[in-house]
Amino acid sequence: MILEMNKISKAFGSLKALDSVDFSAVHGEIHAILGENGAGKSTLMNLLYGLYCPDQGEIKLNRQRVQFKSSRGARRHGIAMVHQHFTLSPNLTVAENLALSCSKNKNPFFSPSKIKKWAQELADQHGLELDPSQKIEELSVGEQQRIEILKAIAQNCEILILDEPTSLLTLQEVAALFKMFRKLRENNKTIIFITHKVLEVKQLCDRATILKQGKVVETVVVSKTTEEELALKMVPKEGLFKPFKKDKKRSGKSWVELEKVTAKNNRNTVVLKDLSLKCYQGEVVSVVGVEGNGQKELVQVVRGRLKLDKGLRTCAVERIGYIPSNRQRDGLILPLSIRENFILEPYFLKECSSRGFLNHRRIERFAQHLIHHYSVATETDKKPVGFLSGGNQQKVVVGRELALKPQAVVAVNPTWGLDVESASYVYKQLLELNQQNVGILLVTIDLDEALKLSDRLYVLYKGVLTEIPTENWTSEKISLAMAGIS
């Protein structure tokens, strides 16, 4: 047993992220931590890596109790974590990056040919094909990631933590990564693999610990279970969901129609394939699916922000309210005040200015109205949005986007990271609009939310949309479709 984590608890404010979690890993295994977003996977591993301190519980490495105050301490004990952002210097070669991270108090001079040879040997030993004289900036994301892993190994790490390592990769790159993992396992390294993709767990891992809402559901031996079982265990609630009974009919007019749309992402890979979708006014259409299956591009297509490769988009409305998934990056400008964030919407900006100058009295009246109406908890509208809590930030976004009665709304994970109260507030706002015959497209990974709100429901998997008929609206069937098993 190389690693034991016993009865680990951690709370952020009132949110209990981890509740008495037990976790252990042995030498030479690939251990998955499986769970939905917000299940506490990353929190658990950040604790192990010394980024957070646990409120309760103990961590033992090789039966020795340890406590890390920072990631430096964890690294000294042979724990490495590969994050989404890489820590390689793009202007140096592969060999230089590797050699630099392993050189300590040695002769300051190096010979380029020697470090090249050394890097090549290291790569061969761990099943990685590389050209050590290439500069990092010339490499793809997947290649950089593998070198990042190699770097961790070269620094004598025994436990390697990877947080959703496949989310940025193409299929070929995933295959190359998995090949490297298997080789590392042969070399007796321990790999902890954070993921929500059941398929990858089945393909790669020896054991899996399933987390759900901060608690361990079970630790299973992967070979003795099936994808279906795994998928079902990670879903928050089981059984049949009762959709809200909504007493109204479709207005008959569609606000957006996509016909056989094919589109590419910014890395030029096809992410939407032959996709058709029709959204009617007064109807909530949900698209559920695991992130990275084309949601981002679908939203861009619906909003008319992405060029289509093939197919047709017809849009009958002008003003589409947009609640982005990442409110801090795409929805708000954090250092600006609440007031200024409200008038980011071009229509409001026009309303609040005269002859090209801002009319601050009008802006203030308008901001006060929105703050009151959407009950944003703040003492002044001049406060930078970055100082608000997540829920209040979302209220600013929702307020701005919904206040002017948009003709349709695209909401992407609108309750992400919100507490129950704020979330139900957002639902209420959306449903209210819906009652007023506004079309709503909800793109979400939260099945629960989709089932509660939708009139129709689609699953997006690898760029293909599948409609789920109402009689199949059970978490089981939908989770399987989300994992590509059906």
């Binding site: 890489f86 820590t87 140096l92 230089e96 050699a99 630099l100 040695k106 190096f110 010979s111």
Partner: protein, 283 residues
């Protein structure tokens, strides 16, 4: 090109290249130091004062360098430890240096500017001119601290995860930049002019800053760029002496216009500039 012109150009290029090489190291670490002008001026005054007071040229030179390094230390404390905006601190130090050297000069020497120094051979500076780029090239491309320097200006976080301190690297770079600026300033007063005049650097620090860009952050590039600039400067003096019927302002423009032209022709080549240049590193 005749050898005389080249020698004149070389003498003009020496202080610029030495200061620029210091700035190269500073910028490679991710800091932009626009106060080389001020640090050169400090070096020029204090080395002059040192030689004048002690009568020993090398001791004077050392005093000048130490004074410039103290300035660099001040710059480092403000830009790294606090950290303040690098451009503002740089500007402040430029102004401080101008005022400080001017006042001290008047205090010690009154208004008589005829204080002459013993002649010093420029052999040391000439060899520095040729060998410092080579040494820096080897340092940057063949040693680990050199690699860490390059990484610090590109992805500082990467350096930190490699167990090296970005702050320490940047501080060391700034101090090296101070040594270079001090030497360059000392060359101006002690070797070149044999005296000190208020504001005698005359914008050479800023030219050094431009030379770093012109030479694309590469030691040999800087060598070529400074030689090019020095020679056109020498050419300009020569043309002025020839008494050709061209307004002298036009002739004086020549080095700058030519540099601009070369930059326009060859400057669009991508890359070179450290990506984290001017961005303070905070853990």
């Amino acid at each position: 090109m005749d050898i005389e012109l080249f020698n004149a150009g070389l003498r003009l290029a020496i202080p610029i290249l030495i200061a620029a090489l210091g700035e190269l190291v500073v910028e490679r670490s991710g800091i932009i130091n626009i106060s080389i002008e001020g640090m050169m001026l400090i070096g020029a005054f204090f080395s002059f004062w040192g030689v004048y007071a002690t009568g020993v040229p090398w001791l004077g030179l050392l005093i000048g360098v130490i004074a410039a390094v103290l300035m660099a230390l001040l710059f480092g404390v403000f830009t790294i430890s606090l950290p303040c905006d690098q451009i503002i601190v740089g500007t402040a130090i430029n102004l401080l240096a101008l005022g400080l050297t001017g006042s001290l000069f008047r205090y010690f020497f009154g208004f008589k500017t005829t204080a002459q120094l013993p002649q010093i051979s420029d052999f040391f500076f000439e060899s520095l001119f040729w060998f410092l780029p080579l040494l820096l090239f080897i340092f940057i491309n063949r040693t680990y601290p050199g690699l860490a320097l390059k990484a610090a200006g590109e992805v500082p976080r990467a350096v930190e995860t490699m167990g090296r301190s970005v702050r320490r690297i940047r501080f060391a770079a700034i101090l090296f930049g101070g040594v270079c600026a001090g030497l360059a300033g000392a060359y101006l007063s002690v070797v070149h002019a044999n005296t000190f005049v208020e504001g005698m650097t005359g914008g050479r620090g800023f030219i050094a800053l431009a030379i770093v860009i012109f030479g694309r952050w590469h030691p040999f590039g800087l060598l070529a760029a400074s030689l090019f600039f020095g020679c056109t400067l020498a050419l300009q003096y020569k043309i002025q002496a020839l008494d050709i019927k061209v307004p002298y302002q036009v002739v004086r423009m020549l080095p700058f216009a030519l540099t601009l032209l070369v930059l326009a022709l060859f400057g669009q080549k991508r890359g070179g500039a450290p990506k984290a240049l001017g961005i303070p590193y905070e853990k």
